[in-house]
Amino acid sequence: MNTSQKPLADLGRQLNLLGVLGVSLALLIAFYYQLALRELPCPLCLLQRAGLIMVGLAFMLNVRFGERGRHYAMALIGAVVTGGIALRQVLLHIVPGTGAYGSAVFGVHFYTLAWVSSVATVLYVAVLLLRFRRESAPLVAGQGGWTVRLALGLFVALIAANLVSTLLECGTGQCADDPVVYEWLQR
């Protein structure tokens, strides 16, 4: 590899790590509302979380295996899926008098925030692609330091926590459209 490319490649990895942290932050906020305020996520809310995780996984692949065009394509697809699901929920509640689902943060509901974040993700990936010149090398064992290990570990832990939480809430089947109890904890 040309040494003049190394700083660019490192910057790309750092920006992708920032993307992983951004998705982790969104998942942490969602968990705060779920656990501290006891607001159970609806099926569409869970699918928006899954969409955000799809984006985070694409960023994670760029960190772990080096920047690749296909990883950025995956991030864009994940953002479009998240935005589509969020838009469906926005349209369910857009007519006055049709109510809303869950709390609002600064007057904006989570599904609207999810749509905004999906558009922001598309713009962020566009910026990353503007500076993307060539594919970088995968991380070797021990490379990346504790920040990479901590950020990726937190992200994986949040995915696992979502799996456990969804099993507790919905069991092994489908979720209720308007869940009020954790199905497995009621047995």
Binding site: P43, L44, L46, L47, A50, G51, I53, M54, L57, A58, M60, L61, R64, F65, R70, M74, I77, G78, V81, G84, I85, R88, L91, L92, I94, V95, T98, P138, L152, F155, V156, I159, A160, N162, L163, T166, L167, E169, C170, T172, G173, Q174, C175, D177
Partner: protein, 52 residues
């Protein structure tokens, strides 16, 4: 569709990535996409009360 499946697929993708297996991670990500879309399609049943 089973609501936990997208998260199970996502966890498998992450574990494959952490263990350095890129191809399985990519394949599982495609499965995750398919499961998420199928689950979305299952839940999009009621028509929207919109007029443009």
């Amino acid at each position: 569709m089973f609501m936990f499946l997208p998260f199970l697929c996502a966890l498998l993708v992450a574990l494959a990535a952490l263990s350095g297996r890129e191809k399985p991670a990519l394949c599982l990500w495609v499965v995750l996409l398919a499961v998420a879309l199928a689950s979305f399609s299952y839940h999009v049943t009621s028509p929207l009360a919109l007029a443009f």
